[in-house]
């Protein structure tokens, strides 16, 4: 890394929701973020959306990374809804894996910060997580909830 790591370093939850179990990508990304100096919470696949929200709240994570190789990205909008309902509007969500272009647009529209496709350089993921974390930390701790 050329840039100095944030202090405290970004705290990232790397997880999978829905039904897909392919985890090569999520393990690689988790290992790479960890090696870049971040605090990474990694879970096995198939987490319930409610569990992810609870973990994000209890662990005060900056960024949630959702890996989806087999269409689980279709329920990511429900995760964003649940995060907002829990008052976690400021937690940034990124998605990585197989996401068709048309559906990527839909994800970005509902508030996903970024979608990483196969072939994305890991350095770029580190960079985006750092920037999203810095952005989150400059916001007031509790933003006033906007109407959805």
């Amino acid at each position: 890394m050329n840039e100095p790591m944030l202090h405290p370093p970004p705290k990232v939850l790397v997880t999978k929701i829905g039904l897909d179990g392919h985890d090569r990508g999520s393990r690689l990304v988790a290992a790479f973020l960890r090696d870049a100096g971040m605090e990474v919470i990694y879970t096995p696949p198939w987490q319930q959306i409610s569990t992810v929200v609870k973990m994000a709240m209890e662990e005060d994570v900056d960024v949630i990374g959702i890996s989806s190789l087999a269409t689980d990205h279709l329920i990511v909008p429900k995760l964003l809804q649940a995060l907002r309902a829990a008052g976690l509007d400021d937690v940034e969500v990124i998605v990585g894996g197989i996401v068709p272009d048309r559906e990527e647009a839909a994800l970005l529209k509902v508030g996903v910060a970024r979608v990483f496709h196969p072939g994305s350089p890991l350095e770029e993921i580190v960079d985006v997580v750092c920037r999203l974390t810095a952005k989150r930390r400059t916001k007031p701790a509790l933003s006033l909830k906007e109407a959805p």
Binding site: D23, A30, T71, I98, P100, D101
Partner: protein
């Protein structure tokens, strides 16, 4: 670095030794001048690849011991005397999307096109052991067909003679789809003896380690159900292959080709020894063991991997497992071109990649092949991309004539030397697993997961650093308009609603007592090792119990399968 130059051949050419040495020295000198910065090249398994191979690397002197003739030990050149010339490989494309009606329509198209080998890919909800009413409807039918009941299975194979086609079921344990298929056969008075095909997701170890899509029941329960399944199928459906040992999952998760082959062979040894421990004779079950491999784009390495694996399995089956029947020594395998090598950038390039991977598999002597569609990296494949994938196989067979000659790369100095080196590396890894107490113990402790994770990270770093070039990703990039790409439609929500309604009608119309009795019997068998648990799964399917109900019962009795995830 070892010398790249063949030094001496053998005493067979004493008169020509000096001429050989002179020529070799001249080549070495010219090569060094033209390629002064030649750096060591290693393949994905870590074996150094030289610029030239010759008689010093492989002499062919021990032809019968090292290669033999096709169909003869050590089976290096192929498991059958006639191989692809006698019978081309089966084209077994993965098929499954939407509702049972969608699947049936697609299946009829495929059969009309002349295929005799089909596959059934169920929805991810089925993989995870759930019925349609247990998961978010948004996810239903997006990756495979929603099959939960004997009625669904009947629709999948409507107007199709079950005994006339070979069916590859992507059906992890407890093999509910197969139980539903057997129930449909019973309804139609098709004798089970006529049913042929493969349980091609039977390898719970690969699911626990690498492909968590299919892992449902905790490790000890899985171990028992698989042995029960093998025993039941050998007895009642002798034309079925109850085991497919899946190296593909290991390699897709990051194992090197040599590691993937070693883990596969160790897994097969584990399953065979578990069967033997129950008093089954190796020759009763080994002829129905099959294998499934990934074919990466590391062309010669994959050919060598498959040839070395075939030779090793013959040795293992005979010497280590004590099989006497030659059918037990045959390394029958299906292979799939690797989706990991496919790129999202410039996706049409993937057609070239799949063709090269398929060639490696064909030269490696596969029995059946799935070629990936070029758009798999973008979404579930579109119809056109799936058609091109099949056409690729037809072109390789009929236009390029790859099926005309048996083991056409056999005798190549490079391929034979590499086959020997891959075999050594595979045996080294097998030794490591044996030392850890065998495959079951090695995955229970996380050793295999750790090795795979390390290999995945090492390979990714090669790509990140540019040491491994990937066209369109870290080399030869072009600006492209991603939005212009065709994309697949998701299932119609109305069809999914109809499917859920039908499922609920099916459940409401069943004999509640019969269902309860079957589930009670299943639960008892799960806790009684003297019974065959798979027999009770089949009985449950016959009684109208659904896929999800069977999985729920076994999860409750045997524990939920949670993989050991190591980062």
């Amino acid at each position: 670095m070892s010398s790249p130059v063949p030094k001496r051949p053998t005493e067979r050419y004493p008169a020509e030794v000096s001429a050989f040495d002179r020529s070799a020295a001249r080549w070495r000198e010219e090569y060094s001048r033209l390629a002064p910065d030649d750096a060591a090249i290693r393949n994905r398994s870590g074996i150094e690849v030289k610029p030239l191979y010759g008689p010093d690397d492989w002499s062919g002197e021990n032809y019968l011991d090292d290669l033999g003739f096709p169909g003869q030990l050590p089976l290096t050149r192929g498991i059958y005397p006639s191989m692809h010339r006698g019978r081309p490989w089966s084209q077994r494309q993965l098929v499954g999307l939407g509702t049972p009606e969608d699947y049936n329509a697609r299946l009829k198209q495929i059969l009309a096109a002349g295929s005799t080998a089909v596959s059934l890919i169920p929805c991810n909800s089925v993989y995870r052991g759930y019925d349609v009413d247990e998961v978010d409807p948004l996810l239903l039918g997006t990756c495979g067909a929603t099959v939960n009941t004997v009625e669904d299975m009947d629709i999948c194979f409507r107007d199709i003679a079950l005994g006339k086609i070979s069916i590859g079921l992507n059906d992890p344990l407890p093999f509910t789809l197969l139980a539903l298929l057997l129930a449909v056969a019973k309804r139609r008075d098709v004798p089970w003896g006529e049913i042929t095909g493969t349980s091609n997701q039977s390898d719970y170890i690969s699911h626990f380690v690498a492909n968590h899509m299919f892992f449902r029941v905790a490790l000890p329960g899985s171990r028992r159900i698989l042995s029960d399944h093998i025993e039941f199928m050998n007895r009642h459906v002798p034309g079925w292959n109850p085991v497919s040992v899946v190296g593909q999952h290991m390699q897709q998760a990051g194992a090197t080709p040599a590691q993937a082959m070693a883990f596969t062979l160790c897994t097969a040894i584990q399953y065979a020894e578990d069967c033997r421990a129950r008093g089954m004779e190796p020759d009763a079950f080994l002829p129905r063991f099959t294998f499934f491999f990934d074919i990466s784009i590391s062309f010669f390495e994959e050919i060598a991997k498959l040839r070395a694996g075939r030779r090793l399995w013959a040795k293992i089956a005979r010497d280590r497992l004590g099989a006497k029947d030659p059918r037990s020594w045959r390394f029958k395998f299906h292979a799939q071109t690797s989706g990991l090598d496919l790129t999202r950038a410039q996706p049409l390039n993937n057609i070239a990649r799949s063709a090269i991977q398929a060639m490696a598999g064909i030269f490696g002597g596969l029995q059946s092949l799935h070629t990936d569609a070029y758009d798999e990296v973008l979404s579930t494949p579109t119809v056109e991309a799936a058609r091109i994938a099949v056409a690729t196989q037809n072109i390789l067979r009929d236009e390029a004539h790859l099926a005309d000659v048996i083991d056409p790369v056999g005798g190549s100095y490079y391929v034979e030397a590499l086959t020997d080196q891959m075999e050594e590396e595979i045996e080294r890894v097998i030794g490591e697993i044996d030392a850890a107490g065998g495959m079951y113990a090695a995955v229970d402790s996380g050793l295999v997961q750790t090795l795979i994770g390390e290999s995945a990270l090492a390979f990714q770093r090669q790509i990140e650093s540019g040491a491994q070039k990937v066209v369109g990703v870290n080399a030869f990039q072009v600006e492209e308009d991603a939005s212009a790409r065709a994309s697949l439609e998701r299932p119609d929500p109305a069809d999914i609603d109809k499917q859920i309604a039908r499922y609920q009608r099916f459940k409401a119309a069943r004999s509640r007592d019969g269902v309860q009795r079957a589930l009670d019997a299943l639960a008892r068998a799960a806790n009684d090792a003297t019974q065959n648990s798979y027999e009770k799964v089949v009985d449950a399917a016959l009684a109208g119990v659904t896929h999800g109900e069977i999985c729920t019962c076994l999860r409750r009795e045997m524990g939920f399968g949670q993989p050991l995830c190591i980062v």
